[in-house]
Structure formats: structure tokens, C-alpha cells
Symmetry: D3
Subunit: 141 residues, 6 copies
């Protein structure tokens, strides 16, 4: 992710209240790939910890929480795909559907597989999405 | 909020995987005040839109969604308060408990009251929390 | 809606238990467009009832429930799109991504608009998805 | 399981839209035993897969998902019992209460026990409920 | 409800840890009609407040919360009916099924109707259930 | 816990409907520490049963349910802290914030650790909260 770009900053710093609400057509609220990314970071952290432990009870808890976090990643990505992105965005970014499909499938992979590399791939795909998101935000200004 | 500071950036850019997981003691995952802030921005946007509409059905939907978003703000703040902050943080920031209490109560206020000013007060309190969070992150390096 | 077509019938009638379980790779469970369709029928029924009532409290309850049902439609469709469909299905049905995008966006429309025609469009899109689903099931035999 | 019987078919095929909505008195929405049955099929599929694996992490995920699916079975059956069925149905089908009690208890059993036979018993009880449901639908015409 | 009898007290005061766990066969946990009753008290309180207000936005929020609380009443009662009560309890209390059916249907009524009398009927039915629950607890000692 | 004191009894026995609703300012509903306590009793019972079993599948289910119950304890305590307690209560009980912080952290501990002693500490902290709650109720009369 272009981490020098901060969607929240742009959103809140540079847009007056009217514009903030203007991009929020009920029931969508405010969109931000950071929501999916934070949950994916949690999946990554859990997978990293699982590599260091063979305790069955500990792994059970790690898997329970990883399932939940990975599901939240899927949910946040699905909402972004369906509710935020519009046909004109698709024209400018024709790989949008495929990218979200691969990202949400990768979130599923982080449930199946318990290693950090699988979670890193998810983070990379979310970063690709975040860049497209940032580009559409910049274009909207 | 000091928006030039980006917790995700610090978290992901400057910490190796071990340290990422090090601060994540299951079942907490990764912490970030941005989660509460994004939902609070949604509450703010909804309140702003409600000011422009007297349509009963529209207001019903706005209130339904605002209730959900404000509840998510409360949840994310509660988790941050209980799971992330440690006694040493409290020593350095003795107003921590009171700040979280007022912030979560203010989230409740944004359910009662439907105006943007009430939501702005919530955003300001979350920014105070985000600054303390950033300070503890900086101190941990 | 094309009510002569019935995916569950195909699923139950033509597949023995082994095959039902065979297509379930954890954590997906069993897939069936009927889940989304039943919730969409509920959205349709609620919209039909709303047309007959101007009672504010009644409409409030109808909108609350319709929001929930429409959200469930979105969820069931998202899961089907991400977890059930595979790249080979996409080759055979290149409109898959666009169809799911329009269907989930239409589910969002049934939250915005309270009329039966908007819900009927959602049912029609789910029927299109159900036909593709049935075709992939038939091809898998 | 009696897979020749299909309630959704009855529902979709034989009732016009008006009647579909007519039996929906808010907040119930549309009723269909297929919702419980699809989740029970998932429980059955998971139990079948568990019989083939002794991998601890895999079994953990299977149990997590089976708990969720079995809980959804219970929920869908409870809603059907309380919201759909009326006193006149009980007169015609005096075993209704006992049948739902045994079915929801059996759903609990599929959490305790991880074998396909326990899940099959659940499917059989849901089929008994589906037949009564279909009979009441037919009688309503 | 026989309010001199306190299930929690008996449960915790008079039973050693072994017996506490003995009656808890996973996944049931600890049972107590108080869970349903507390939510029903909330429904009652909300209905009482609704009688005093004609403000549309206020009523919207009251209805949203009442729907949630009434749903929680249903859920707690369903769990109690399916998971706690056993066949021998049914022999001693043959009206058990009917009582739970009427109580959960009454919880649904408190969604339809917004008056305190409807909520009071729900509380009375929960009290009947609580008395039977207390009798089975006493018999188990 | 002063088990001779029963919040529900006081609430329902000694307060007329007006006062019941009077202390319920939407969206709070009715407050009662018993909600957190019942879930904590479940955590305690599960931990006690885990001590007696080394079956991996059984422990997996126990951990899944214990995670859920402990999370419910946290939620009920957070709601009580934010929504019920007012500044004047804090003046009379200056340890309120610290007590809730330790109690919710202890609920987290019951996820990490699987022994009954850890769950007992949680119950003791909830009892301290219940006594303060009872004192504020008595003072309100």
C-alpha cells in the first residue's frame, strides 16, 4: 500500500462536511480499505504466532480468532466492492472484479492455511485494492 | 488527530513480523483507533445527511444505520481500552479511563441526538485517544 | 421470477449424500442460491405489504426487517460468488462477476427503495445466478 | 432423507406473489424449512469429512464451522416453530411440539457428536417437519 | 415469579463446583430464566416510554431497540426449552411445550404491539416458566 | 456477591412501572449485573469440565464456547460501565473505572487460561461490581 497516502486524512482533512456526506449514500456510510487491512494484519500476526507454537489449546484459540478475522476481511472487501465502487470506476480499472475475487478467495485461504506467507499475499492484494481506491478518491477531487 | 501520524504505517512499515505478533497477544489481534474513527465518520456523515431530510422513511433508515455504526464505535473503543492499554500506559496517561468513559458515552449520545455537532464531539474524543495511542506506540519503539 | 426452475430440487434430487458432501471443501459447507432467494422473497413480501400501509410505526418495523433481509441476500450472494464459483466456471460464464455485482447492488437498492418492483428485479437476478449455478452442478456430474 | 419432497418447489411453483406475501405477517418474512435443511446438509458434509481426517488443526476448523451451522439449524427451526405454525396446525399435527423439540435437540447432538449418522438423524427430523409444513401449505390453498 | 427463589443463588451458593459443572453439559453452559426476564423487562420499559412520546425519531429508536430485545427474549427462551429441559421434566410439567410456544409467540407480539400490557403478558409467561425451572432445580437437589 | 440481595427482585418488586422505565433512558434498556454473572458462571463451569478431559475434540468445543461466553461477559460489563453508571456514581465509588478495567481484563484472562481459578477471580470481580450496582440502586430509592 502506498503508505504515504492516508485515505482517512484525505477524507477528513481536505473535504468539508458536505462532501464527506456527499460520498456517503445511505446505507453505505464511509468507506476505507483500512478496515479490511487492519483485520488482515491481525490474520498475519496470528499466523506468525502459530508458527511458534505447537500447543493444541493455543492453536485452537488462534484458529478460532483467525477464522473470525479472515471473515471480517471478506466482509469489508465485499462491502467495498458492492457499495463503494461504481461502473465508471470499473471502466478505469477493468481488473476490479477479478482483484476483489482473488482477494476474498485469498482471505478464505488464510482460513485453510495457517502460515504467514498466505496472510502476506492477502495483505498484498488489499494493498492493490487500496491503491485503486486512492486513485478513485484522487480522481473525485 | 495528528493525521501525519499513521499507526498502520508504523505498525507495518517499521516493525518486523516478530514485533507485529509480539504486541498481539491472542485473542487481541492488531489494535488501531482508526477502526472506531471510521465508524464515527460514518455516524458524522449520516447525521449531516439527516439534517437535510424530513422524509420519515429516509430518517428511519438513517437512524437504523447510525445506531449500528455508533454501537461499532463503542465496541472498538471498549476493546482498545480493555485489551490494548496496560497499567504502565495508565500511569503515563492518568486520564485514560475518564477519556474512554466520555468517548463511549458520547457514542451513546450520537444515538440519542441526530446532529453533526454531537458526532463531531465523538470524533474529537477519538482523536484524543488516537494521540495517546500513538504516544504509547512511539514509546514502545 | 422463473419459478419453474428450482436449484434445491437439483441438489437434493440428483446428488447422493456422498456427492453433496464431496463438493463441500471446508470451510464452505453446502452452497445453494435458495438461501439468497428465500431472503429476497421476504424483501419482496415486505415491500408488497409496505405499499398497503401508511402507518409510521408499521413502516419503521418493515424497514428494519427489510434492511436485515436485504443484508442477508447480499451475504449469501457474496459467499456464493467467492467460495463456490471457481475460475473454470468464470470461463464458461464470463458474465459471472458482473451478474453478482449487479445482484448485490440491487439488494442494496431494495434497502433504498421500498417498492415490490425493485425487489422483483433482485429476484430476477438471483434466478439468473441460480441458472448458472445449476448449469455448473449439471456439468460437474 | 426423503429427497423427492421439496417444499421450496411448492412454495415457488404453486403460490402467486400475493399469496407469498399474504402469509408473511411482519416481522416473520417468508418461511421455508429449506433454510434449516441446507445448514443441516452442511453439518452432514462436515461430519463426513471429519471421518476422513485426524489432523488436529483441520478438525478444529471443522468443529468451529459445524458448531455455527448446527446453531443456524436450531435458529431456523425455532423461528419456524414459533412464528409460522399456528394453533390450528397443532390440532392437525399434535406431534408438532415434540417433533421440533427432538429436532432442535438433535441439532445440539450434532455439536456433541462428530459422525455423519448423527447428522443424518437431524436431516430425517427436518424432513418430517418439511412434510408437515408442506401439508399446511397445501391445506391453506 | 417466585422472587424469593433465586436460581443463581441456589446454583452458586448451594452447589459445589463439580455439581455446577455437572448440570452443564457442553455446549449448554449455565441456564437461568433471568436472562429472558431481563430482556423482557427492557421491552416493558421501552413500551412504557413509547406511550409517552409521539416523536417519530424517538419512536423509531424505541422500535429498533424493542425488536432487538424481544428477539433476545425469544432466543433465551428457545435455548432454555431445547437445551435445559429434559423428557422427565416434560412428564412432570406436561404444559411445558405449550407454555414456551405461547411465551415465544408473545415475545413476537411485543414486536407487533407497542403497549406495556402486551409486554406484561410476556413477563407473566416468563414467570410461569421460571417457576417450573425453579421446581426442576429444587427436585434435582 | 451479597446473594441475599437480588437486583431483579428490587427492580421488579419494589419499583412501579414508571420507575422501571424512568431509569431506562433509551437505548439502554434495563441494567443488571446478573447478565455478566450468568455468562461468567458458564465460563467457570466450562473451565471446571476442561480440567477433567484431555480429549482434543472436546477441549476444542469447550474453548470455542468459553471464548463466546467470556466475550459476552466483557460486553455486558462494558455496557454497564458506559451506559448505566453516571458521574455521581463515580464520585461515590472512585474505584469504578479501575474495577471495570480489571474485570474486563480478567474476562480476557479466562480466554487465555483454561482453569477454574481464573474464572473464579472473574466471578469475584463481578460480585464487587454487583455490590456497587446494588448500592447505587438503594441510594436511588
Amino acid at each position: 500500500m502506498n503508505i504515504h497516502f492516508n485515505p482517512i486524512k484525505c477524507l477528513f482533512r481536505q473535504l468539508p462536511a458536505q462532501m464527506v456526506s456527499a460520498h456517503c449514500d445511505l446505507p453505505c456510510g464511509v468507506y476505507d480499505p483500512a478496515q479490511a487491512r487492519i483485520e488482515a494484519l491481525s490474520v498475519f500476526a496470528i499466523a506468525t504466532k502459530m508458527a511458534d507454537s505447537s500447543d493444541t489449546d493455543y492453536r485452537t484459540r488462534a484458529i478460532i480468532i483467525k477464522e473470525q478475522r479472515a471473515e471480517l476481511v471478506k466482509h469489508h472487501l465485499w462491502v467495498l466492492w458492492t457499495d463503494y465502487f461504481k461502473p465508471q470506476h470499473l471502466e478505469q480499472h477493468p481488473n476490479l472484479h477479478d482483484l476483489f475475487w482473488r482477494a476474498t478467495k485469498q482471505a478464505g485461504e488464510t482460513k485453510h492455511l495457517h502460515d504467514a506467507a498466505t496472510a502476506q499475499k492477502l495483505l498484498d492484494l488489499i494493498d492493490e485494492i487500496a491503491e485503486i481506491f486512492a486513485a478513485t478518491k484522487a480522481a473525485a477531487k
